[in-house]
Symmetry: C2
Subunit: 439 residues, 2 copies
Amino acid sequence: MKIVEMRVTPIAMADPPLLNAAGLHAPYALRAVVEVVSEDGITGLGETHGGAAAVANLERARAAVIGRDAFDLGRLWEGVAREFGGEARPVEGGDGATRQAADIPGGVRLGTAARVYGAIEVAILDLIGKALGRPVCDLLGGRVRDAVPFSAYLFYKRAGGGGAGDDARVDRYGEALGPDGIVAQARAMIGEHGFGSIKLKGGVFPPEEEIAAILALREAFGPAVPLRLDPNGAWSVATAIGVGTALAGALEYLEDPVATLPLMAQVRAGLLAAGIELPLGNNTSVVGFGDLAACVQTDATQVVLGDHHYWGGLRAVRELGRVCDTFGLGLSMHSNSHLGISLMAMAHLGAATPHLTYASDTHYPWQDPGDEIVTEGRIRFVDGAVAVPDAPGLGVTLDRDALARGRERYEGCGYTERDDAAEMRRHVDAGWERVVPRW
Amino acid sequence: MKIVEMRVTPIAMADPPLLNAAGLHAPYALRAVVEVVSEDGITGLGETHGGAAAVANLERARAAVIGRDAFDLGRLWEGVAREFGGEARPVEGGDGATRQAADIPGGVRLGTAARVYGAIEVAILDLIGKALGRPVCDLLGGRVRDAVPFSAYLFYKRAGGGGAGDDARVDRYGEALGPDGIVAQARAMIGEHGFGSIKLKGGVFPPEEEIAAILALREAFGPAVPLRLDPNGAWSVATAIGVGTALAGALEYLEDPVATLPLMAQVRAGLLAAGIELPLGNNTSVVGFGDLAACVQTDATQVVLGDHHYWGGLRAVRELGRVCDTFGLGLSMHSNSHLGISLMAMAHLGAATPHLTYASDTHYPWQDPGDEIVTEGRIRFVDGAVAVPDAPGLGVTLDRDALARGRERYEGCGYTERDDAAEMRRHVDAGWERVVPRW
């Protein structure tokens, strides 16, 4: 089943003004859609990080894809890895000050080969699934769950919907800049989608304000709804230990309180010394297999957030699950702003990964239904979970008109890279800089 | 693609009088052949450990198999694990004296669920491959090598061929009870199959004799042919450090010098303290994923010998490769006496496992061509490697007449379990007992 064509389409979708430690989401989030076409005319779909650099990297992999048999994925990886020089290794500094905005997921530091391969692998697995009449989860070893749970992903948010001009979107969740707004956002999102757990993206306001927001969520939803807080490495070790101490009973895990593995290990040691067993989640200093040995050796992380978009595809994250199971680590899934192809890929992966121990992140509720690019329309969450279809491949079909609109939006929106700091300077504070740690 | 039938056939094959730390090989080695049949009449093949207990365990899994879709492997594992109570955890004793003959691979302690599932998974992957017209390696992620290297597996050996009575076989390699015999055996086996590396099964004679055998092999074949020595845990820590010191420059790794993980860690530490960087291989105290964390934490092993027959199948060992790569461990493959179905399963697995860092073990040269049960006949080694076919499934077809002969041989041979110690008492020393450590 030879692959005879690969198409990479950059798109933009409306994205509301969400805040994080790196700044502010722009009115558009950028994605890239990968299509691979077999010699018998079957098309497989993938979706990944967008923007000019991501698209250029995908194009660089074209020669490794075209003419290759769809099942020949081991050698496809070798070809992609050769092109990009293998998986990037993380910067390991003890001071936390070396991390910049580019270090966050969606930035450029993460292993390029793993990201490029991951996007193409999904498209090829969708192609194989469609050709065989089998869902992608079956190609990964078979499902162990029929629906994959996701968590409500709350953000501090400025007023306004996503998009601009003709693309301006309704502000579905409203402003949220303190505990009341965050609780209201959670009620709205859970009311709509039924999520059974909640994550708050922090690192935006002084820690005491974010502690208050978490305690307000606990008050509002009670202990049956697990909570997480993720300041994206914005804190010092002392601050992280302080927040962890304050929230020990309220969080299922504290994600990336500090920016590097050595600092994470210090936070863990400090919490344990205080008698606090609060797992630390990680998707900024554990972003590839090369980070795991040091992570385990130093007990720097207890919950890894995998992401097939940058860990090297669906099979790689299933293998990550085995690694986590073997070494007593929990596993969740990380998310960037995304559409339905990525969501379905996460669902098939989650279905076929026995050791997925937490509900996964998803930005999907923040995207506008009008921007979806699959003919099935908006993917539904039922009780916070995505049902894994029996349909061939990922179970979704490309809506070419919607894709064309997404491309037009990309070409007209004026954004070619994600730069949350620039957006922060434009709309909030002209002198804003990302500082790590800020508190 | 529903599975409507499963057949389990116990067979016996001639096996020469090979010596190891557990005793002496009986004239027959026992295997079991698993066939699964789909509703459209396609048959998939697996081969695994034999004897009455293995067959009974496979039969216990029948209810989890029949009626299941062939791709539904995640839930098949869950069903098998439920039946057998999950993967057994190893006994971890610091004294090394608790390990008995049953602890060796082929014995009964290894995780039963993983063994039963592994055999059935191979048969189902062969079935899927045949149904799709794709080789099994493609179902595992695609090949990264077209031929999988194996090593010459030398044994101290009493005179005589395998089998008995009408099944008595020619003694193709002759007696080997000292360095000269071992070198001659190596020359014959390499001359026949072209192996590029050599493993000697030790733990049979006092360590100084086995050191002499290794040095004779080094003298005969030179440094271009890597050597390994495997006494199956027969030594004390002090002896192991002594042998490791004597052979440091001559071995690519020293396998299972002592019987438990804590003792392995002591050997490693002792060698490093003496400035000797000699990797320790392991397939007796690292026999499942549950052993790996302690192994890594204590640096007890540097080369894991995976085996799809007891690690839980082909996908599991590919995942083991990811674990080993992630934690800086080497990976080879362990073997028991086996026929062509198992050899081809190892070949497909080796082809699709990027992180296979050493030539794999195989007992195959010790089996008689007349006992092979695939219509393709004896699998060939070319330059010590097995070519991975493009044919559907494993690339072999069951020879039903040969299978029937193997079954007759099983039913007539009088052996229903492997018991190398009993054989030792019968033929060598009526008072023989396995002692761990012996030296």
